[in-house]
């Protein structure tokens, strides 16, 4: 069964066309991540799915039913917001239980579901507190708890980690992944952070300017990006794009090579000078300015003695190179 099916969904605000012909299927139990730069329409798409915005045209079907005219509360969804959006005047317990009470569930059912969710999220000691008395991470867990309690057909996450600090973000990311395994529920997760996308997703949807650029599993997108945008967006540090530094490129063609696929080689195809070194302990990132005045990143594993100002020659294997035409689309690799 499909958890969500979007067909030709369009959304305009006045004359601004935000979403353009979105077609997408989310299978049952799948974790799908919408990723893209800010302003690409990913949050708007999530709101259309939630029913907080109406699609200008096209159909939205959740669990097999077309829900275009169904209000958010009756769509069988639950949403976790970036800003947590907890009710400030209610205790943690009432925050989590409000949705069920509105559905008319009995107190016994509400209590049972709330205590189950709070046990899952380690919130048992905080049930009587108000949101103001909780830390950021705890608030985010309450927000997630509020979603779990409703036992929805589809979970929607709107950049849930962007207000947390780095350490907490990592922990919560792991918790969300664990939650997905435990509940085996369908989830849609919006983020601009490609690391969250890569680590959490079964399927990534890359959006740009209101269009779906590519859909696929993280490794599919990483190993076989459809175009220059996807190639550059996924992966950190991001892919190097060269058009002058390498000989034998057809006019207008760009060569893409990931930083980890470059290595020192006295006979390498590219020569340049190191302009900056980032030593991360486990990795070393070098910024190299090529003789043709292009900057590229080299990722070396482990620690490396290279200093700023050193002249280097770099090589790559043709199997690891990507080629893009003038429009940024993938071109077939040229025999080198």
């Amino acid at each position: 069964m499909t958890a969500l099916k979007l067909e030709n969904v369009n959304k305009s605000f006045g004359s601004v066309h935000v979403l353009k012909d979105i077609n997408l299927t989310v299978e049952d139990g799948e974790f799908v991540v919408f990723v893209g730069p800010s302003g690409c329409g990913k949050s708007t798409l999530l709101r259309v799915i939630a029913g907080l915005e109406d699609a200008t045209s096209g159909t939205v079907a959740i669990g097999g039913d077309v829900v275009n005219a169904v209000p958010p509360a009756k769509r069988g969804i639950a949403m976790v917001f970036q800003s947590y959006a907890l009710y400030p005047h209610l205790s943690v317990k009432d925050n989590m239980g409000l949705g069920l009470k509105q559905e008319g569930k009995s107190n016994a059912v509400v209590d049972e579901r709330v205590s189950k969710a709070s046990a899952m999220l380690d919130l048992d000691n905080y049930l009587t507190r108000r949101p103001a008395e909780l830390s950021g991470g705890q608030r985010q867990r309450v927000a997630i708890g509020r979603a779990i309690v409703r036992d929805p057909k589809l979970f929607l996450f709107d950049e849930p980690l962007s207000n947390l600090d780095a350490a907490l973000r990592m922990n919560t990311r792991v918790e969300i992944a664990a939650l997905h395994r435990t509940l085996s529920a369908s989830m849609i997760y919006v983020t601009h952070d490609q690391i969250e996308a890569m680590t959490l997703a079964d399927k990534i949807v890359v959006l740009r300017d209101g269009r779906v650029e590519q859909v696929g599993s993280p490794m599919e997108l990483y190993n076989n990006p459809a175009n220059q945008f996807v190639a550059g967006f996924l992966g950190s540090p991001s892919m190097n794009f060269l058009s002058q530094s390498v000989t034998g490129l057809e006019n207008g063609t760009t060569l893409g090579i990931r930083p980890e696929h470059l290595r020192f080689d006295a006979n390498g195809q590219i020569s340049g000078q190191v302009t900056h070194v980032e030593r991360l302990g486990g990795d070393t990132n070098l910024l190299v300015k090529t003789d043709a005045d292009e900057v590229l990143t080299v990722r070396l594993f482990g620690q490396d003695p290279t200093e700023v100002g050193d002249d280097v020659r770099l090589s790559y294997e043709n199997a690891n190179a990507f080629f893009f035409d003038q429009n940024g689309q993938r071109a077939l690799p040229r025999a080198a």
Binding site: R47, A50, G51, L52, P71, P72, A73, K74, I77, A78, M79, F81, Q82, S83, Y84, A85, L86, Y87, P88, H89, L98, G99, Q102, E103, R130, P131, A132, E133, L134, G136, R139, R146, D158, N163
Partner: protein
């Protein structure tokens, strides 16, 4: 205020200015209060002297309580002020919510139209208002005053509250929608508590002019049984003789209820459960 360390000299100067201003502002009130407890002769002989054993007199208060139906006036003022404020806050907040929350054709235009009332004083329309009240038979009723004051207060209320409501997190309202709260519940249970400080501001801004107004009570409701306090106090001011004791006593007592209301609203200004709602 940010980086420079304040020297004690500037602190003293700032306090001196503020204290001076406070004294100037409170002085008339102080003079009214002390003179309301003095005999008529003492008021005129030494207006600035405190009442002492010789000059102390409650004659003003006695006159006020014996002449005219002071409690009736008091009650009328209370009813008019409280009901008007309630209506201003209720309708103002609802209109502001609609303007801030919903996208509809003419939203901006409607906002401007509602704000127009801030710039045009309602008293310009007094004659028309009086004609309307006469033809609807509302002359000499408190309803007439309440309607006029509500109309007078709404523009500013809508203006201030809609700005504040735009500041309430969309996520919170959307969370409510997903949890199945109706738009009314979202308005009353989520949004109103968060804009409470703004509501208190609007209430204070509107309360004082309504309580002190002489114009509309005089024109729309001059009958004895619907006189407000301010209008009622005017009986002691004659064309030739003014009973200063009574006027000052009435004014002193008129200050009290506004002060109580002010204290209630200003506590709302300070208290806030908003922190921690979002982020």
């Amino acid at each position: 205020m940010s980086s420079t360390r304040r020297t004690s000299g500037t602190t003293i100067a700032a306090h001196a200015i503020l204290i001076t201003y406070t004294l100037i502002a409170l002085f008339p009130v102080f003079v009214i209060l002390i003179n309301s407890f003095k005999s008529r002769k003492a008021i005129f002989r030494e207006p600035l002297a405190l009442p002492n054993a010789e000059t102390f007199s409650m004659i003003g208060y006695e006159t006020v309580f014996n002449q005219g139906d002071f409690f009736q006036y008091f009650q009328n003022s209370m009813i008019v002020t409280v009901v008007s404020l309630t209506l201003i806050l209720l309708f103002g907040a609802m209109a502001a919510f609609a303007l801030a929350e919903y996208r509809f054709k003419g939203n901006t235009l409607m906002g401007l139209y509602l704000a127009l009332g801030i710039m045009i004083p309602i008293r310009i329309g007094t004659v028309a208002i009086l004609e309307m009240m006469v033809s609807t038979g509302l002359v000499n009723t408190l309803t007439a005053l309440i309607l006029v004051y509500t109309a007078q207060g709404l523009p500013l209320a809508v203006f201030i509250l809609s700005e504040f409501m735009k500041g309430v997190s969309d996520d919170l309202k959307n969370a409510g929608r997903i949890d199945g709260l109706s738009e009314y519940k979202i308005f009353f249970r989520l949004v109103l508590p968060l804009v409470r400080p703004a509501m208190a501001t609007v209430a204070v801004f509107n309360m004082i002019p309504i309580w002190n107004d002489l114009w509309f009570p005089l024109i729309l409701a001059p009958a004895e049984e619907v006189k407000t306090l301010t209008l009622g106090s005017q009986v002691f001011i004659g064309q030739f003789v003014t009973d200063w004791n009574a006027v000052l006593s009435a004014l002193s007592m008129a200050i009290l209820p506004v002060m109580i209301l002010y204290v209630i609203f200003s506590r709302q200004l300070i208290r806030g459960i908003t922190s921690g709602a979002v982020k």
